[in-house]
């Protein structure tokens, strides 16, 4: 039995960092993730961790710090949000291609403009092709649990990992949480013992090579393999975590999907709201269900296709827009997953929702299911690219 507490999502992640006691944190504050380095710097100041805390002048430098530290052989961490994540982008690619398993906590927030500090997934989705593993949390508990599993996953495949939670909704709301005892955390996470590292005096090493066209594609193909291999690693680490805590984690979570005829695919805190809506609709006898994506990178294409193959209609819920005049990323990747699996029966629509902190209510999700019921009944999707809860 763990330790019962009540913490905000940011506190929970900072507490996980304290329990792990990593070697280096490079961080620059930005709402709503500021509290993470703030809490953590308190732990550093109080001597509760022996992490080297490096206060830098920008997020680009924060990630550069992490790259240097991780290449040196350290466990390096950071935290950011929104434009801070954008500003890191160049170095996010470097971290992934240099195969450095850095851990980055992201409290997801909208991007400008109009300037907005509230939650959506524009920041995380904007860097989805940087080569980072990306886990999303529905609750504070999941943000904490994902963080405890992050280093095991990233280090197993030599890829950096983002632990994403919803800004304010999760990062600042205080919920009951069950913490794992610190000794158990340390045993679970283990020590970082990289095979090669810059501070190894017995093996000189060059990191960040220039690759001519003769080599670049081979390096990228190998990087792609690491992302593919991560699917099994995420499941394996999740199973070990379940054995320790009783809380199970995979690539996706299925909720009431066994006999579902209409389903939504969603990421983050709104999954909780959607579960409430599904309970209401199930009480009315409607066969509705939900797929929550925990791992967006790697994208669980096979699991999603399998979960959706028998539904009549689904809605992919994107808390950001790709501005491609067509659909958001979850719809695009879900549709691609179905097509690749040869599944064409389910009718799919896409909702862009919750942008810039727009409240997502139980009724909002019930509206989506009402629309899905029409699609299932008629077999006609109508417009597939839709905005939810926007004033017409």
């Amino acid at each position: 039995m763990g330790i019962r507490e009540r913490l905000s999502g940011n506190e929970a992640v900072a507490y996980a960092m304290k329990q792990i006691n990593p070697d280096v944190m490079g961080a620059f504050p930005i709402t709503p993730s500021t509290e993470i380095p703030q809490y953590f710097s308190t732990y550093v100041d109080n001597g509760e961790v022996d992490t080297e805390f490096i206060a830098v002048e920008s997020e680009h430098s924060a990630m550069s710090t992490c790259i240097g530290a991780e290449a040196a052989g350290c466990r390096a961490i950071s935290a950011t949000s929104s434009c801070g994540l954008c500003y890191m982008t160049e170095m996010l690619y470097v971290a992934a291609s240099d195969r450095l398993p850095i851990t980055l906590a992201v409290s997801c927030r909208a991007l400008s403009g109009p300037i907005n500090i509230n939650n959506d997934h524009s920041d995380a989705m904007g860097v989805r092709d940087c080569g980072w593993l990306m886990l999303f949390a529905e609750t504070n508990q999941e943000a904490y649990d994902n963080y405890l599993q992050a280093m095991r996953i990233g280090e197993a495949v030599s890829l950096p990992i983002m632990i994403c939670q919803d800004g304010f909704i999760t990062s600042h709301a205080i919920e009951n949480i069950e913490l794992v005892e610190t000794e158990k955390v340390k045993e679970f996470v283990g020590e970082y013992k990289p095979q090669h590292f810059l501070l190894n005096k017995d093996e000189p090493m060059a990191v960040g090579a220039y690759a001519t066209p003769v080599y670049y594609m081979e390096a990228k193909r190998q990087q792609a393999q690491a992302m593919m291999d991560a699917k099994e690693v995420i499941k394996k680490v999740g199973a070990e975590f379940a054995a320790m805590t009783g809380r199970e984690y995979g690539l996706i979570e299925k909720y009431m999907m066994d006999d579902a005829e209409e389903a939504i695919i969603i990421i983050g805190s709104s999954a909780g709201t959607a579960k409430e809506a599904i309970q209401n609709l199930r009480a009315q006898g409607k066969k509705v269900g939900l797929i929550k994506i925990r791992s967006f990178r790697p994208f669980p294409a096979e699991d999603i296709a399998e979960a959706l193959k028998n539904v009549k209609a689904f809605a992919a819920m994107d808390k950001d827009d790709s501005f491609n005049a067509h659909c958001g990323p979850i719809f695009a990747e879900t549709a691609a997953a179905l097509y690749a699996a040869g599944i064409s029966a389910p009718k799919g629509i896409n909702y862009i929702y919750g942008l810039g902190g727009r409240d997502v209510r139980v009724e909002s999700i019930e509206h989506v299911f009402a629309e899905l019921e029409k699609v299932a009944a008629t077999g006609e999707t109508g417009e597939t690219y839709r905005y939810l809860d926007v004033r017409e």
Binding site: S97, D98, R99, L100, S158, H196, E203, P204, M205, A206, V207, G208, A209, A211, V214, Y215, M217, E218, A219, R221, Q222, Q225
Partner: protein, 102 residues
């Protein structure tokens, strides 16, 4: 999987290339032929060369070796990129830039 620069050849496969193209030894730049970027190459006329050594220190790639006897030797075409700075620096017109036929 080898981790040495000598094994990073154009035939290395994606399974055998090192993660991030990292190299696990030092001083490997001496093994990489950067002279193949060259289009023009400097040629020295030893009859005109006075061994004044104004050329050697201005070479950005240390491709003009100076021996223990204090005299310059021929160009190191393994690294020389044909920039022509040496030809400009020579007061005696001893260095001529010619097209590098490959």
């Amino acid at each position: 999987m080898s981790h040495l620069a000598k094994d990073m050849t154009p035939s290395v496969t994606w399974k055998d290339i090192t993660p991030g193209c990292n190299i696990f030894e030092g001083g490997t730049s001496v093994t990489v032929e950067t002279g193949d970027w060259r289009t023009m190459k400097p040629v020295i006329d030893w009859d005109k060369c006075k061994q004044c050594l104004l050329c050697a220190p201005v070479c950005p790639d240390m491709s003009i070796p100076v021996g223990a006897d204090g005299k310059r030797g021929d160009f190191d075409y393994f690294f020389c990129k044909g920039c022509g700075i040496c030809a400009n620096a020579c007061p005696f017109g001893a260095i001529t830039m010619v097209k590098d036929e490959k």
